[in-house]
Amino acid sequence: MALFLCGRVFRLLTLLVAVSLLSFLLLSLSPIDPVRAYVGADMLKVGPEQWANIAAYWGLDRPLHERFFRWGTAILRGDWGVSMIFRRPVLEIIGERAVASLALMLTAWTFSGVFGFALGVGAAMKQGTWIDRVIKWYCLTLASTPSFWFGLLMLLTFAVWLGWFPVGLGVPAGVLAHEVTLSDRLHHLLLPALTLGITGVAGVALHTRQKLIEVLQSDYVLFAKARGESDLQLLRRHGLRNIALPAITLQFASFSELFGGSVLAEQVFSYPGLGQAAVQAGLRGDVPLLLGVVIFSALFVFAGNLTAELLYRLIDPRLKLKERYL
């Protein structure tokens, strides 16, 4: 057990180092000039001297390995650096934004898992009927639709036309922080969570459906049917455990989305989150912010996959990873 944990911790550390290196390399290979990205639309007003000043101020004129080394040693000391775009400490930015969207992402993640699984199961149990067809079309449509569109549609339908939900933000507009209630926050969270949940359904649903179809064709299921087991019994006794794996894999593989996947919510619902900031960091060459995001993201991915593997063993004892017949 201790060995197992040690192994995992070692993996985590190597992963963190590798992912920082990879991101840093990618950023440095990108043709984006961070200074130009920083200056943006004001480029006409900034002369070449000022350009050089900006570069020097942010340390952008130093050679690559020096920059990475400086960043690396700073991180080890606990200094995550200052973001160029926001001009504030990276930890602060990540803290504010990620925490704000955590409840949203968790809800959406759970919802898409449960709903996707249910759809997949429903489609497979009723394979060939119109239910199956509708679900399949539904999933394919979701996969082929730009999620931004879908989000906008939800916004227009539920918040504008029906008026059931607020039009955006995580808190009511114009209300001071201490006056915002929990029910306010929930009210603002529901529509984005629902939207994100629905858009995330397609993968889980279709893979689960496929798996269950296979399971239903197996001999033991045939035998169980011959014995007169009802559909529901079939599902409970033979189906669920066997089909859990793809669903679990997919769900926990998208664990990292919890951290940075809120771009849609931010764009359409103006819900606070880290997604857009992360993309901006990548686009504008903001090394400290991007690397900070990447490290946390890696932690989430790692945690997610570890959970998935532990669940594998729990659900299907055949998967004892230690045993190798080969």
Binding site: R11, T129, W137, L283, Y312, L321
Partner: protein, 289 residues
């Protein structure tokens, strides 16, 4: 209509035509192939002139002269949609197929190989999953110099990890099945086991993975193009067309989004149908039904 079990009603209807199931499958495959081919050919035949702007005919709803309407620059949406579909078809294929293949190979290696290989591959998958997906696509596209190559590289390299993990889980489950163990005891090589025993079982999930990845690639292409690193934005690709039309959705020009979106959906469904039916033909269990 493409699944291994079918409704009695469907059989009844087709049996009236005296086509058996196998023939039906072949016909469906042929139709699907024809549809896709005609897209490609049609796009070539359609004149570039259809793409020119016409400032006096902007934002026209669908009518006889312009069956799919016109966009905000007066360009005919039918021409744009067909050309866009054909372009996206190629991009989608070039991005989705390699990604799926990489996932397959790595999953097999991971599941069948020794402990260290498995650890290495899953570690690599974690590495690629760790960077936020959109950012990674963009950065990789940059490295490859943008354009179609950049987009394809970006999408291919970011989407294999999830599918790999999924297929690996399948392989792990199958690995302990009796027929596999027996083959191995009999001395068959792992490669043989992989192709003969495991691959058929993985094909359904592979297909699902492909079907989901294909439109995903097309939609991502638009994002990269908007940053100037994909195709030139006035070459129509469905992803671009859809993204640009989003702005006009709020303004009420629904046809800008509806027809291209529907076209994409039909194309995806066509692949789905094609894949299922091919599998029906090839898979020995269902081929003789």
């Amino acid at each position: 209509m493409s699944d291994t079990q079918s409704l009695p009603i469907a059989n009844r209807r087709f049996s009236r035509l005296h086509i058996n199931r196998r023939q039906r499958t072949v016909i469906v495959i042929a139709l699907a192939a024809v549809f896709l081919l005609s897209l490609l050919v049609g796009a070539q035949l359609l004149d570039e002139a259809g793409l020119s702007t016409s400032l006096t005919e902007r934002n026209l709803p669908p009518a006889l002269a312009h069956p799919f309407g016109t966009d905000w620059l007066g360009r005919d949406m039918l021409v744009r949609t067909v050309k866009g579909l054909s372009l996206s078809l190629t991009i989608g294929l070039f991005a989705a197929v390699p990604s799926v293949l990489i996932a397959l190979v790595l999953a097999l290696a991971s599941g069948l190989g020794n402990k260290h290989l498995d650890a290495a591959i899953t570690w690599l998958a974690d590495l690629f999953l760790a960077v936020p997906h959109l950012v990674l696509i963009i950065l990789i596209a940059f490295v490859f110099g943008g354009g179609t190559t950049g987009v394809i590289a970006g999408v291919t390299l970011t989407h294999w990890p999830t599918l790999t993990r999924l297929l690996r889980a399948e392989v792990l489950q199958l690995r302990s099945a009796e027929f596999v163990l027996v083959s191995l005891r009999f001395g068959r090589s792992r490669w043989w086991v992989a192709t003969r025993h495991l691959l058929p079982h993985l094909k359904p999930q592979l297909l699902v993975g492909f079907i989901l990845l294909f439109p995903h690639a097309i939609l991502h292409e638009a994002a990269v193009t908007f940053l100037g690193f994909g195709l030139s934005p006035h070459r129509p690709a469905i992803g671009i067309i859809l993204s640009e039309s989003m702005r006009y959705l709020s303004a009420g020009s629904w046809w800008l989004a509806f027809f291209p979106g529907l076209a994409l959906l039909i194309m995806v469904r066509t692949f789905d149908v094609l894949g299922d039916n091919l599998r029906l033909l090839i898979d020995p269990r269902s081929a003789q039904e």
